[in-house]
């Protein structure tokens, strides 16, 4: 297997938002992760992008215009004027209006969108956006800390090139927003592993939700009970994903790595270790299908940071030491300062072996139906996209100032020393 090319998308400002006092969602975890990634030296093995910021127009590829318009306009100052809209769009409680809300959305959405685009364009095999993965957002309302569904928007971009896109969700919560968006189509299969029962959020994700119309059998739900550990999770995850690959044969994958399925999460109730969680990521990576990896939930900051840093190392195939490197955030990891602290949990595993076997079999039987489903056609996969080189040649108007991105790429030629307007030795450059 040739080494997969990994691209990493991170906007340095995306961590500097705050949902408000007492809110468990802490965007600053993203800055902590980025700092760990840098200090482990993992960035040397990936292309690092400061991504595009999604416009309202991009968001409206999935969401309703009025909803996005509302998100764009509302601020903590003028919130009084929107009282009617707040409940209509489910904004206020779980999804507060905080300072910079729309900016935040456009940063994480832009990163997922661009990741999808680079995958389409074969610029990379794996695209990572830890700031994305907000899987609860609905077409016209916010839900569960999610405002804009970057996953749906990313998948819609992938669908331009890919006949079949697989979505895998290992967040402790059901990936309801994504499932609902693609409930009627066979071009996207959504597979979610989550806690279900006892009013656990969001309340959907029953195993009988299998999709409808042409999408029947293309929504897969694996409801689990609290306290599931590494062994039990693997017992379900591996056979289900293997069966999905066998019967659905996706040409692209989106993996949501919600870290609230780790033990001791502030909101979650599973007992996975970072290694067990990472095992799923490794498995998906080894399927060798173009993959967009996004974040998601995760409410115990230090564990999220550990988890996604470790998973970044898995995705770039680099071993990193258990001892955390020095970062400005080191104090957050007291007292052990390690990447894989021992999992101590009082939560008992409520998933019996029989239950897991039964749910796996049920899923398998449903997946078999896809095979015979007439709606899966062999689509024509388009040839390779326009290559970077071609793009450069097609640069038309020399009077128009070229973009920063192109400029960056142009200087990649090793024998080229002249470097744009700011170059000091312009005079003796050999033009």
């Amino acid at each position: 297997m040739t080494k997969q090319k990994v691209s990493y998308f991170f906007n340095p400002d995306v961590g500097n938002f705050h949902y408000g006092t007492g809110h468990p969602m802490k965007p600053h975890r993203l800055s902590v992760i980025h700092s760990l990634i840098l200090n482990y030296g993992l960035h040397k093995h990936m292309q690092i992008y400061r991504p595009y910021k999604a416009s309202a127009h991009d968001m409206c590829r999935f969401h309703s215009d009025e909803y996005i318009d509302f998100l764009q306009k509302v601020t903590p100052q003028n919130i009084q004027a929107f009282t009617k809209h707040l409940s209509h769009y489910n904004v206020g409680d779980d999804c507060p209006v905080f300072y910079g809300l729309f900016d935040f959305c456009s940063m994480y959405t832009g990163a997922s969108l661009e990741g999808a685009m680079k995958l389409n364009n074969h610029d990379c095999d794996i695209a990572i956006n830890w700031s994305g993965g907000l899987h609860h957002a609905k077409k016209f309302e916010a839900s569960g800390f999610c405002y804009v569904n970057d996953i749906v928007i990313g998948i819609l971009e992938l669908l331009k090139y890919h006949p079949r896109v697989l979505y895998i969700d290992i967040d402790v919560h059901h990936g309801d927003g994504v499932q609902e968006a693609f409930y009627l189509t066979d071009r996207v299969m959504t597979v979610s592993f989550h806690k279900y029962g006892n009013y656990f959020f969001p309340g959907t994700g029953d195993m009988y939700e299998i999709g409808a119309e042409s999408g029947r059998y293309y929504s897969v739900n694996v409801p689990l009970k609290e306290g599931i550990d590494d062994g039990s999770y693997w017992q379900v995850f591996k056979p289900v994903i293997s069966a999905v690959m066998e019967f659905y044969q996706p040409t692209a994958i989106v993996l949501q790595c919600g870290a609230d399925s780790l033990a001791n999460d502030r909101l979650g109730c599973f007992s996975l270790s970072t290694k067990g969680h990472g095992e799923c990521v490794k498995f998906v990576k080894n399927l060798n299908v173009p993959t967009l990896v996004v974040g998601g939930g995760g409410y115990t900051l230090r564990n999220v940071a550990r988890c996604w840093t470790y998973e970044t190392s898995l995705l770039v195939d680099e071993q990193i030491s258990n001892e955390l490197p020095f970062t400005e955030y080191l104090e957050f990891f007291a007292p052990d300062f390690t990447l894989h602290p021992e999992v101590v949990t009082r939560q008992e595993n409520a998933n019996s072996k029989q239950y897991l076997e039964a749910i796996t079999k049920y899923t398998y039987d449903n997946l078999k139906m896809c095979q015979h489903s007439p709606s899966v056609q062999m689509h024509d996969v388009p040839g390779p996209a326009i290559s970077e080189d071609e793009k450069m040649k097609e640069e038309e108007d020399p009077d128009v100032r070229i973009s920063q991105d192109l400029e960056d790429k142009m200087v990649e030629a090793k024998n080229e020393f002249y470097d744009g307007d700011k170059d000091n030795d312009k005079d003796d450059s050999k033009t």
Binding site: N16, H18, G20, T21, G22, P24, H28, S31, G41, K44, H45, M46, Q47, Y49, R50, P51, K53, K84, S87, G92, D93, F98, Y99, G110, L113, M117, L159, K160, H173, Q179, E180, A181, F182, G197, Y199, F201, G203, E209, I210, A212, E213, K225, R266, L267, L301, P325, Y329, A334, Q354, Y355, A358, Y362, N366, S403, L406, V411, E412, K414, E416, F417
Partner: protein, 373 residues
């Protein structure tokens, strides 16, 4: 980083003595040391919650005084009538829609459960009634520890009509529009102008990069001592990539840029003692409402910078002192049971704050008078 720490230490020395006389903090400090195991939020909530409770309550009371009656009623939950008046039509539509939808979904999925042996049903355990209100809130179903309850001063004011069934909805209002067929990108990639490639690993290999970094750090002389491990310099690597991975060129440029950029970034990133103190008094007043803190206390920094600073600050010694002080203040009030009147407390608070903080509030440059609560 180190510089920040040292200013923080100074801060401690200046701040602590007056308070120490009032109460021996050793027990508090001990306790503080032990809650390492607890979540960050617990520590946070202790510090911020205590500091802000009375202020928040006061400002709320003030706001309510100026509120029109209807809003006030709504605030306290008398919202039934209002809501019905506002949206009778929507209510109808919504319910119709949801009934329709849930029917389709149920019809579609009904056959499969019957085929399945009932064994699974039993193992499956209690299947919850899905149309519970709780299921709309992610937070409410979590294990709420005591200190979080304090935090959650929102009331669950969900509207009746929005309590739709928790099923997957079907209809053009819910599904995404799937692009038909496959396509190529046009000549130009849709977002090619907007992103920025900061580093591309495929152009160079480990050893050369390391050598470059070593040379680069000799030039930039980073404030932190270089240990056995070579630290990465993002800026230097970005420069290297801009120079088409020509190490010599990058070093040459690095040498040229270093004097200016180094001092620039130092000035930008280091917080002055005054900024720190204003930030702390902001946290005391507004809790974690960083926008208000920015508006009223630390105008020299962006809200984003405040958030970032907050996370570094809360793990510093400076924060421990701050938290202990807040705790002590609370103790003091508890010791004077006659002191429950909020107005008294408010005035007293103001007085003590004015004494302690007035020297810091002279904000140079913007000439804004010290904000009043």
């Amino acid at each position: 980083m180190e510089d920040t720490v040292s200013t923080q230490k100074q801060g401690k020395d200046e701040d602590s003595p007056s308070k120490d006389k009032l109460f021996d903090p050793s027990v508090e400090l001990l306790l503080n040391d032990f809650d390492d195991e607890q979540t960050l939020e617990e520590e946070e909530a202790l510090a911020a919650g205590e500091a802000q409770d009375q202020d928040a309550e006061l400002s709320n009371l003030q706001k309510e005084g100026n509120m029109p009656l209807e809003e006030l009623l709504a605030l306290y939950g008398y919202q039934g009538e209002n809501q019905e008046n506002e949206s009778p039509e929507e209510e109808g539509n919504e319910e119709e829609a949801s009934i329709e939808m849930s029917e389709t979904v149920e019809n579609e999925s009904e056959p499969s459960p019957q085929e399945e042996p009932s064994k699974l049903h039993i193992l499956y355990g209690p299947i919850p009634d899905n149309d519970q209100d709780e299921s709309r809130l992610l937070r409410s179903v979590s294990r709420v520890s005591e200190e979080e309850e304090e935090d959650y001063d929102y009331s669950p004011d969900e509207d009746e009509w929005r309590k739709v069934n928790k099923t997957i909805m079907v209809g053009s209002d819910y599904q995404a529009q799937i692009p038909e067929g496959l396509c190529h990108y046009d000549d130009a990639l849709p977002y090619e102008n907007e992103d920025k490639l900061l580093w591309n690993p495929s152009e160079m290999y480990g050893d050369t990069v390391e050598e470059f970094l070593k040379k680069a750090s000799a030039i930039t002389k980073p404030p932190l001592p270089i240990g056995t491990q070579l630290r990465d310099d993002e800026q230097a690597l970005y420069l290297l990539q801009q120079c088409g991975h020509n190490a010599e060129e990058a070093l040459r440029r690095l040498r040229m840029t270093v004097p200016t950029s180094a001092t620039d970034t130092m000035n930008e990133s280091l917080w002055s003692e005054e900024e720190c103190r204003n930030f702390e008094s902001g946290v005391r007043l507004f809790g974690k409402n960083f926008h208000l803190i920015q508006q009223n206390k630390v105008r020299t920094r962006s809200v984003g910078e405040l958030v970032q600073f907050y996370y570094l600050w809360k793990k510093s010694e400076r924060h421990d002192i701050f938290a202990n002080k807040a705790r002590l203040e609370k103790k003091k009030y508890a010791l004077h049971p006659g002191f429950t009147d909020f107005m008294d407390r408010f005035l007293e608070d103001q007085d003590s704050r004015d004494c302690s903080s007035s020297p810091n509030i002279q904000c140079p440059g913007n000439g804004k008078p010290p904000p009043d609560t």
